[in-house]
């Protein structure tokens, strides 16, 4: 008897539907991870004289396994991804910013040798952005770039708690 009024499959379907309403690409990632199935090793008993043979077989996940995979994907996005941004931010902090010297010449930045540049901002936070609308893209993204801002640890911890709770809710087995 389930502890909830729904089963794991229903919970999973609801989760994917809710995510799809917010972000199609995330829902697609979840779906793909589940649809990927898993490898199992089957044993073929070849009769009395033959040796047993083990072979690989691709099978669908159980509902419980699919729910676990879904949670894992969400952890990647909501816990690991902020950690990547945090680490990137920290590693960029230790680098300097090369600023061309203030002269009357107006050359593109790259034309100056490294030793002609004024190195600034070592040890300071840097503003990092990823390009959303690429240089060859005519249609699509409205926003041209997106800032990679570190996410406070407190918020990451909150997400950890949320996902733990979600995993408990999705596990309908007693």
């Amino acid at each position: 008897m389930s502890a909830h009024e729904y089963n794991t499959l229903e919970a999973l379907q609801l989760l994917i539907r809710k995510i799809r309403d917010r972000d199609d690409s995330l829902a697609a990632s979840l779906q793909a991870a589940i649809d990927d199935g898993k490898d199992v090793h089957e044993t073929e008993s070849g009769g009395r004289r033959k040796k047993k043979r083990v072979y690989r077989r691709r099978v669908a996940l159980t509902h419980k396994e699919a729910a676990d995979v879904a949670i894992k994907v969400l952890q990647s996005f909501f816990i690991e991804l902020p950690c990547f941004i945090g680490s990137t931010s920290e590693n960029f902090k230790g680098a300097a910013v090369g600023v061309p010297p203030q002269t009357g010449r107006h050359l593109p930045s790259w034309r100056y040798d490294e030793d002609q540049l004024v190195a600034e901002a070592e040890g300071l936070d840097k503003t990092l952005e990823i390009e959303l609308r690429t240089e060859t893209q005519i249609l699509g993204e409205e926003q041209s770039t997106l800032s990679l801002k570190p996410i406070p640890l407190k918020l990451i911890d909150e997400q950890r708690t949320n996902l733990k709770r979600l995993a408990e809710l999705m596990n309908t087995e007693e």
């Binding site: 996005f77 690991e80 941004i85 070592e122 990823i130």
Partner: protein
């Protein structure tokens, strides 16, 4: 959109680990932009050319024992076959990079020292990515000293696939949550740079 952001953020993370390797060698990498100071530092959203000035794309430069290098993200190289390939993150000789900015061209694979494919976990790692990267590396000539397939996930079959010599190094579970894997990645870069420059 989060899917796309995740992939790019993972590339940025690997770029950051390259910066860390340089710093651990006692050198401060200098961030540069193609048109001006990299404030902000912009990561390409897709494969692009090293000389492109459509945005102020960022890269890093450093000099070790008199030899200058650059770190780039999302830059296309010309393979030995003449075909162009994008490397998510790469380490190359600075003079080759400068030559391609001065006389706009795709950098030749001869100037490439390290190349990394970066794949953020999206459920399951696709085997095709591993195969494609092996093909790409094969077309990059013999000067390439470091090649790695980086992911926050793990794939048992791909790990085996990368095992033979001359295949890219599998950097699986490369994430801040696994600091020892980060250190392996950083140490490989440091060792190779030391070997090259005698630093």
């Amino acid at each position: 959109m989060i899917r796309r952001v995740a992939d790019k953020a993972y590339e940025a993370y690997i770029f950051g680990l390259c910066l860390r390797a340089v710093r651990e060698l006692g050198v401060t990498p200098v961030l540069r932009g193609i048109t001006g100071p990299p404030t902000p530092f912009i990561f390409r959203g897709g494969p692009g050319q090293i000389h492109s000035t459509s945005r102020n794309y960022g890269y890093a430069e450093f000099t070790l024992n008199g030899q200058s290098f650059e770190i780039h993200a999302g830059v296309e190289f010309q393979g030995t076959s003449g075909m162009t390939h994008e490397l998510d993150v790469c380490l190359m000789r600075a003079n080759d990079a400068a030559a391609c900015r001065l006389r706009p061209d795709d950098p030749p694979s001869a100037g490439l020292i390290g190349g990394w494919e970066c794949k953020f976990y999206d459920g399951a790692l696709k085997k095709v990515l591993g195969r494609a990267f092996v093909g790409l590396i094969d077309d990059m000539g013999s000067n390439l000293r470091l090649a790695g397939f980086c992911s926050n996930a793990i794939h048992a079959q791909l790990k085996e696939y990368f095992r033979p010599q001359r295949r890219p190094h599998p950097h699986f579970q490369l994430t801040p949550l696994e600091p020892s894997n980060e250190q392996i990645f950083v140490n490989l870069i440091k060792a190779e740079l030391k070997k090259m420059t005698g630093a």
